[in-house]
Symmetry: C3
Subunit: 485 residues, 3 copies
């Protein structure tokens, strides 16, 4: 605990010394809104687009939207529930009886420590504007993170709600890593390692993929070096935790007696209970990543369900053909693999693609957890690498293959695997709407719902040029897509 305390003190000191108080921006006085603008503001809430009054008039509804906020608070609670007690039970059931308490303590301890880090500077380093590689300090101590939405990330939920929702991701990511070194590391070592890991891996990667101006932010940053699209964290959560888990279990070494004595899970009841909680909580994880209760969120919800079921089915089917009968552990692992694999894709793919991704996920992770681990002999105790790294990597690749504007009416021409880093955005094809629907202010050439034009301008025509996503457009896209296939 002492090194942890020390690390915290050092970071507090560094932070305070680098912090400067900014004078509040003095906004120019705006006119009162017209009836047309007030109506358009309310309609923007339904369509999760930027307010018509932005930069033009005072908004009468400047805060979050109740429906979107309701869903995002629910989602935040669900993602916390995934870690406490979902993941704790899932992992706790898989270890030997003597080690279950250590897993529980690690999950709880990580929730506490990461939350404090997030408040101190984590949120700021991830989501404040800074360099393409790391965020700035302006949101340290959650300053300036209040009830007003931050248009960079979400138009219709309070900025503080976005911050707390993202915290839940920051909690579960190091907790996933714990699975690889379960039964071997002490509590204080895990805490110390995780604090370092957050600064070295999580904050920078999350900023690059999701932060405004991030170097790999393929949706909101036209200047991104690598145009990654990652809806809910295939890269940021599952790949970082999974690959780190592999490195970590190679560094830490094997458990005493590994390979010589059996180390069966001590309670499949706990493991299955954890699986159910993870599945239910994953709806907050994936559908919540729309940062709104809109059509994209619902699409993610549907894809998540189908992929989880397909993963569960395909792992069991492989197990059945190879061993003669499926196991409870297989059903659980397959479901989690399906969930992890659909994560980066959930907001971008159709129902059919989700089933295919889930089927691929179950089979691929089955072979990774059985054949690959046996062949190379690393001791990935609870298959964090096998499920999360393999699933997350597969999902990130398949997102590039299956992402379609039919599922998410973003102008996705970039249907090659995003992490290949090919330049994919000409000015015509660049994404017009991020997965967070976020832009700070309307760009002059793409004014959202145009409030300055006369009311008789064609809605249909405007839709094609604007950021608005109306379900009727989505439906058309689906139909034409279906016909072409």
């Amino acid at each position: 605990m002492k090194p942890l305390g020390l690390a915290l003190f050092v970071s507090i000191g560094f932070l305070l010394s680098s912090m400067t108080l900014r004078a509040a921006d003095a906004p120019a006085p705006l006119p009162q809104p017209s009836v047309e603008q007030r109506l358009a503001d309310i309609e923007a809430y339904f369509n999760n687009t930027a307010r018509a009054t932005d930069g033009h008039a005072v908004s009468r509804i400047p805060g979050g939207g109740p429906g979107h906020s309701a869903w995002m608070m629910t989602s935040s609670a669900l993602v916390l529930f995934m870690t406490l007690p979902g993941l704790a039970l899932f992992y706790g059931g898989l270890v030997r009886r003597k080690n279950v308490l250590s897993v529980l303590a690690q999950c709880l301890g990580l929730a506490a420590v990461v939350t404090i880090l997030w408040w101190l500077c984590g949120y700021s380093l991830t989501y404040a504007r800074g360099s393409p590689f790391i965020g700035g300090w302006s949101f340290a101590f959650l300053r300036q993170v209040g009830a007003a939405p931050n248009g960079d990330y979400a138009q219709w939920i309070p900025h503080s709600l976005f911050a707390i929702y993202q915290l839940m991701f920051a909690i579960i990511t190091p907790a996933l890593t714990v699975g690889a070194i379960a039964e071997r590391m002490k509590f204080r070592a895990v805490m110390f390692f995780s604090v370092i890991w957050m600064f070295v891996v999580y904050f920078p990667i999350a900023h690059r993929v999701w932060g405004t101006g991030g170097w790999m932010n393929g949706l909101a940053n036209p200047a991104a070096g690598i145009k990654a699209i990652d809806f809910a964290g295939g890269l940021v959560v599952h790949m970082t935790s999974g690959w780190s888990a592999l490195v970590l279990c190679l560094v830490v070494g094997k458990r005493h007696g590994h390979g010589r004595e059996p180390m069966p899970p001590h309670s499949m009841v706990l493991c299955m209970t954890g699986t159910g909680m993870l599945w239910a909580g994953w709806y907050g994880f994936n559908a919540g990543s729309a940062a709104a209760a809109d059509g994209v969120a619902v699409n993610a919800f549907v894809a998540t369900t189908l992929s989880a079921a397909a993963g569960c089915f395909s792992w069991s089917a492989v197990e059945y053909f190879r061993r003669g009968k499926p196991s409870v552990l297989g059903l659980c692992s397959g479901a989690v693999a399906g969930l992890a694999t659909i994560t980066p894709a959930s907001g971008f793919v159709t129902a059919g693609s989700a089933v295919l991704i889930g089927l691929a996920a179950g089979a691929a992770t089955y072979f990774a957890c059985n054949n690959l681990k046996a062949r190379f002999g690393y001791d990935d105790s609870l298959d964090t690498f096998g499920v999360h790294a393999v699933g997350g990597t597969l999902g990130t690749i398949l997102t590039g293959v299956f992402a379609t504007a039919a599922a998410n009416p973003i102008s996705l021409r970039a249907q090659l695997p995003a992490w290949w880093g090919r330049p994919c955005g000409s000015s015509k094809s660049r994404p017009r709407r991020s997965c967070w629907s976020g832009r700070r202010r309307p760009r002059p050439e793409s004014p959202g719902w145009s409030v300055s034009r006369p009311a008789d301008c064609a809605w249909q025509a405007t839709t094609r040029r604007s950021v608005s996503i109306s379900p009727s457009t989505a439906k058309k896209a689906t139909s034409s897509n279906e016909l072409k296939r």
Copy 2:
């Protein structure tokens, strides 16, 4: 697993051969909406009625409504949580220790298999327009099931969200049946049986009671042969699973040693944990069945709470008077009985009726699970018949007795038990609003909020003729109803 794979392949083949691609409907171009129509559209979101622009103008908010979608995503997650891990723990705690894993595997396996069936053709056979006895194929593979609402079922949530919510019901229904044959059937037999059962029982019955044009759809189909009203599945979920469970446990026969050796539940802690999860999840089941976060949903929420508590109380009271002390199992069973019994009634009855239904439920299921089972000697291991068939049947009858427009301002003159099949709807008294609030398009004689009339037409007068349900009307109905009683 082989028969299952075979069954799936056969159904896929059948499906693909019978499927024809439809050309997309070419809608006639509609005019832009007026300010009056835009306002009326937004107000329709609050009142969960049809859009004023339907058929008259382009809607600026054609997708789902954020608040309703938020609640329905939450509800879907809650209903999944009822099965995984809720029901798995409830049943898992009641069996002997050696059989707990088989129960967990069956619940997980059913979630996987039913989800895939639902995507393939289950949703389509249940909810697509077809004959009065079975649905059509137009929604197979969830085609044409996207972000736009399907007015047949819900005006303000995406069609795909409705489909995934209904999937959760399709998962839990066969899982309930498992309780009757727990400890006796193999995993693959349960899977195989359940696939057949879905096609033979669930899809047809659910279509008849809830599908558009269904033969027993007493709310939305004026031509229904039997005018059943079933808010959240007393008939579709609890009666089908409960009665099937009875047949199944008679066919399968008794457990070895039944009646000769004691078979006590192995863990009341698991059982009680499952009960708590079922209770919490049931809010998604019942209140979610309004397909919106409106007053009907809240009414169902209240009725569910009161009936669960009353069932818990009355089972324990009977147990206390007959055995001298209540048991944990009794408290759990009573709560579940109260929940199952209120299910068909929850959206139609007042608070006082809900308490009465709960009290009746606890007592009736107590006698069914103790006296009836002892007398006839069938081996209903976990009382699926005793709780769900008896409770569901009682609830379906009592729905007819207690349903009132005070709780749900549908024009319910049909207060006789719905399944008696008496013709109850003259043109004057036919239900004007389904429990799903759904109609595809405004009927000329009942135009919802009339957008073409001048703004000064009386709202109060219009309300009585329209489908709009304003709480002020509800309140008045309640008051007058209270005075009459």
Copy 3:
């Protein structure tokens, strides 16, 4: 059970004899709303303020608002989930194995009995208008509690939803008390005691602090004798249950063998599972107490998370320095202490204050549960007094210290500890908005969004005088507050 039955019968008799049917109020006919009023009504939904049409015109959206209702149904389910199975598992894990069933039965039994009491008269005695010390009988049997909002408590959710949400608080409060006398009282004694306790302690205290016209209602009652502010029940839930627990465990006496033989918790897995459920459910408890999905709810959500983590951290840190290593029980207790302590403050304090409150909570309750209990020798089996009374009392004091208009733009000049009872409200500084945002009708001198003024009146100017809370105002308040500190 007999005394309980008797008590119920007596209260029913008393109730029925004192009940009189009221004639329904005949409202004067109101004019139809103008476009301006309809727009203002919809905007009031976003800002969670009173309808512009109140008293001026018929509202087209008289019921609940979908987003707010969605969050409040979710919150109600979450708070129930805290008791069943959250608290049951938390307490169940801490007792000896032989007593776990009694704890589960008590939690379930209390849920049943309190729900029936609440329906009979509990809600009415707490929230109906009556004297400053106890509510009236007008809401007995939940009569007149329907889909229309009750402006005294919440503008945008159905009255019945408010009633059922508050029921969940009434269930968990006596269940918390159970922790102090676990392993010593019989089921029927606990039930009997709790029924009495509800009438003697809970209904009166809750009415005084939260009821309209309550004697200690510092937010909504300008004439309150004691101006308490209690956002989510630090006083009403944690102090009442915690101090009652102390009295009760002194009266009941120690467990056999207390102090002579060890009584270790039988399962930290159950305890930790319960902790996770409590944490997730607490979001419904605290953020739900805004009775809306608005900025105040989000503020409570953030504060709850930070305080739970800080409490977990600080308890463990103290344990580490005093014993050399943290324990799972310590991590769980610290989290619950952080949650209990932030409860009264969550809707009133900033993120930084929440961290400080959490840190104080973990340390204070550590010493209360270890040193204080050892010194005075009372047998508080599961530390209900140590965590809930000490935490709740500390939180109620710190609420007075840290409450700020930056977190909740109520005109809070009363920053002294509210329970000190100092008169703090001159006519200029009296709270203009209750924590429930509730006022029955617009007061003439403070008309909310003024619908009768011409549309060109300044929004900014109006905001300062009205009850509307716009995030832009909140942001400004935050900025100026930050600068001053």
